[in-house]
Assembly symmetry: C2
Homo-oligomer: 331 residues x 2
């Protein structure tokens, strides 16, 4: 910090912050269909409601259409409108394909997608094809093929596809990004990051409240436990890399002159979720017989074209304090 | 710590400590040739002198022979004897093969090896073949083949080959080992460890003092710079894994029911050593033209038969605080 005054540092940090604001209305100005940015939200679960709540705080944004298949969640979302004193949106609720009708609305500028993971890519693709800009929750895609589909479709249609990785905009992360750009670390060599978050009470609940109180999931679960936990049953790997890799990618200029070249990923045995079920509900609970594929700790090492390495950690089954495990190291 | 009293904890920690003492005289008792353990030291550099100094504090240990090719280092070692008020040892100084004569001495129980890395395996093998127990500095071998040679020779001759990894005996590390054995972490899932040590002033000096003051190494360097730095010129990878992997191996019961199954190792670009030379001595210094192979940060991920993963970090070229980067994580 010796070569840069605090005032100068804070000033340029704010500039970064403004440049990276979540809803870059300025960027859209030329193509706006009204004075307000009009956005549709697909997925009105707890995450979607939060998006709506934040957006409705801005007078220049209107969430004029919402879409979900869950009447309970739609009801909660409408309460958000009521509390914000804003006009009710159009509602698309006729089954899992009704979002296709919503994205055809002429009066929308963009779509926010906050649905279960497997829907992100198909919805983002459909929205861009229909001429909408897209903000999509993470992970934006579940396969490499779908990642490329998103890139290709965005380039072909000229529509933005923004991955809504909120960690990139944490104040501490943006401060470090600014330090990296001021070259306070010299040339970057190595970054460490990840998602170390005890999600056991998110993956399991009693089917009524979103966090804990039971060991149910899937059909019998509520909110994220309804769909997210199945990924731990059926898949092994880093299921949620962007909290870590997002910020680090900006710092390492990924896809802005640098790129990820190869990676290795190594998972531990899986113990945490089974143990949680047994500890909470005993060995005789039907869910105690389920075999989870997701290893408790997954470590991924990425090599960049510039030579830098990144260690990404994924750890959502263990009792441990929350940590993004950040480290930035340079010459 | 709730299920175990502090008194009980401290008591059992000390038991571990005694059981793991550096010179396990008790183990040798049956095969001793005199009342004192008689040891020869090959390599009387700064490390060897430290071994001698520590051992001479014990009345039940005698370092009755030393071996080196560097007259200056032999002189410094003899001063250690003088200061300890102990009898001068026999000295083997007739060239790089004279250690073969020392290990043939009938009156020695064991050999400590503290020479440049590439000599560790051949010297340990020769000593065991001659009927000596061996304590060898790390890394004990530079190739997988030599690792197996050490194992096979130890088993065939019935001689111990102890790797002198001092970090295993740090008080904090032994406390954690005891916590692991008390199952305070449950079943282990993941360990993190390594060697993050700014060795730039060890790898380079002025040829007179061991640490810093210049950018010379090899023929023109002194002490470790004389030979260690060449490994950074010629090799890429984790050149010094045992500070981290040693303690973690005991915690994970490696070769006591568990074992390492596979690993990946990924290195960053190499910048630190070149930059150090340029910063200290300018771009025109002859050493500024040297290409170093060793990446600045090397990350190795190991998978164990029991499913656990270990991340080992090697980082000796960068300006950074010392850290062994330890983490132990369980269910």
């Amino acid at each position: 910090m010796s070569r840069i005054s605090r005032r100068e540092f804070v000033k340029s940090t704010s500039t970064v912050a403004v440049g990276a604001a979540i809803l870059p209305v300025g960027l859209l100005r030329g193509s706006l269909k009204s004075e307000r940015v009009r956005i549709g939200v697909i997925g009105t679960g707890l995450r979607g409601q939060w998006h709506i709540q934040l957006a409705l705080r801005r007078r220049d944004v209107e969430i004029s259409a919402i879409c979900d298949i869950d009447e309970g969640m739609i009801g909660m979302a409408l309460k958000v409108y009521q509390e914000a004193g804003r006009k009710k949106p159009a509602i698309y609720r006729k089954g899992p394909e009704d979002y296709l009708n919503m994205v055809e609305r002429e009066d929308l500028d963009g779509i926010i997608i906050a649905t279960p993971w497997e829907w992100h890519a198909p919805m983002a693709l459909a929205a861009m094809e229909a001429g909408m800009h897209v903000g999509v929750e993470v992970p934006a895609a579940l396969t490499v093929e779908d990642c490329w589909n998103l890139v290709d479709t965005s380039e072909r249609t000229g529509k933005f596809c923004m991955i809504l990785e909120n960690v990139c905009y944490r104040r501490d992360v943006m401060a470090v990004l600014n330090m990296v750009r001021k070259r306070l670390f010299g040339e970057l060599l190595h970054c460490q990051c990840g998602y170390q978050h005890d999600l056991r009470h998110v993956k399991f609940n009693d089917g009524k409240q979103p966090y804990g109180g039971g060991v149910e999931f899937g059909e019998k679960g509520f909110s994220e436990a309804r769909w997210r936990t199945n990924h731990s049953v059926n898949r092994n790997g880093d299921l949620y890399p962007t909290h870590g890799a997002g910020p680090v990618s900006t710092m390492l200029d990924i896809n802005r002159g640098n790129r990820f070249v190869h990676l290795t990923s190594t998972a531990t045995q899986t113990r945490g979720l089974h143990k949680y079920i047994v500890d909470q509900a005993g060995e005789d609970h039907p869910n105690a017989g389920i075999k989870f594929k997701l290893g408790d700790v997954v470590t991924t090492v990425i090599k960049c074209a510039g030579g830098q390495t990144v260690v990404v950690s994924h750890d959502t089954n263990s009792p441990r304090p929350y940590s993004l495990n950040f480290r930035v190291q340079g010459t």
